[in-house]
Symmetry: C2
Subunit: 200 residues, 2 copies
């Protein structure tokens, strides 16, 4: 009986987080009310304080859930060399197409304030993604040589930066920036940048 | 007399735009009221509808002003070859440090909605900046060779993307991302990517 109650509670929580994710992405965090979330989820409004405290608690739960989903879908390890780089670019493109990525931009203005409860989660997500790109560049491979003076961490930073910026331009003008072409172009430049002299 | 009135009107407009820019960047667009803007500018609230219609009109004027300031501070032409690339990176870094750039992220969540009056201005700013980077890559220079299959437009897209993404990571974690180091790293990778084979 206790188990069943726990299951129902987990399921309510899941439905509330799902409804809130959708609403925050569509209407924005500030425009969404707790009543909207209850309506869409079909869960009684009274259970929201019990699960999340307040709307800010709900936002935190949404962000935790979204980031977990995002980082899980992104493999940590990739083969060394050009094949691994191709995989990374494919994953970065697929990542940009996931609907929840939209939520990241919608909440950016809130997240950017140092006092925001989600500020550190964004910084952590960036750090995690940089680490994944860095790990690829740190693997020894005969067909990969970083530019003189550049570290694997620099590769991670530059690659994540380009991916973030491609996504942002595409969100503003999907008719002016083709996502597949953009990640293809990024791959060309990164491949050329890390090709040993004489191999181009 | 007519001239003096026109001057006073221009000056009021300027003061209102300046006050609104500051407030939108600090408090966010939605949290700022027309009364806040009147208070800070010292201009009577009643003149705001006359100048801008409503708060949305004021937002548009702020964006026009900010984008004009930004693109004017960014030179259109840069020398061909590595010196020009160094200049571009210095400008991109200086650009990120301008306080008004902050406003761009604060308003991003509003701007990203296709119905937003400032949506197209963002897409235009991106296009202008891509054009400046593209123009450098399109100049013939013996020390510059784009990767096979890449166009000057691809260079513009990848470079702007990286600059946008560096800025965003820095805004989230200024203690974790050093702006000067990041643009230096970007320069190393771009230089390596466009160096003719054998010259590295």
């Amino acid at each position: 009986m206790a188990t069943r109650r726990a299951e129902t509670s987990r399921e309510s929580r899941r439905l509330l987080v799902e409804a809130a994710s959708g609403l925050f992405a569509e209407k924005g965090y500030r425009q969404t009310t707790v009543a909207d979330v209850a309506d869409r989820s079909g869960i009684s409004r009274g259970s929201i304080p019990w699960h999340f405290g307040d709307k800010e608690g709900l936002l935190l739960a949404v962000i935790e859930h979204t980031f977990l989903e995002m980082t899980q879908s992104f493999s940590e390890r990739h083969p060394a060399g050009p094949d691994g780089l191709a995989e990374l670019m494919e994953q970065a493109e697929a990542f940009a197409r996931v609907p929840t990525t939209r939520l990241l931009v919608s909440l950016l203005a809130d997240a950017v304030e140092p006092g925001s409860p989600i500020h550190h989660r964004y910084a952590e997500l960036h750090a995690t993604m940089r680490r994944i790109f860095t790990a690829w560049a740190a693997q020894p491979h005969v067909a990969v040589r970083l530019p003189d003076g550049a570290t694997p961490e620099d590769f991670g930073l530059v690659t994540l930066s380009a991916a973030v910026g491609i996504y942002q331009q595409w969100r503003m003008a999907p008719e002016g920036v083709d996502l597949a072409h953009a990640f293809g172009a990024l791959r060309l430049f990164l491949t050329a940048a890390v090709s040993p002299a004489g191999s181009r």
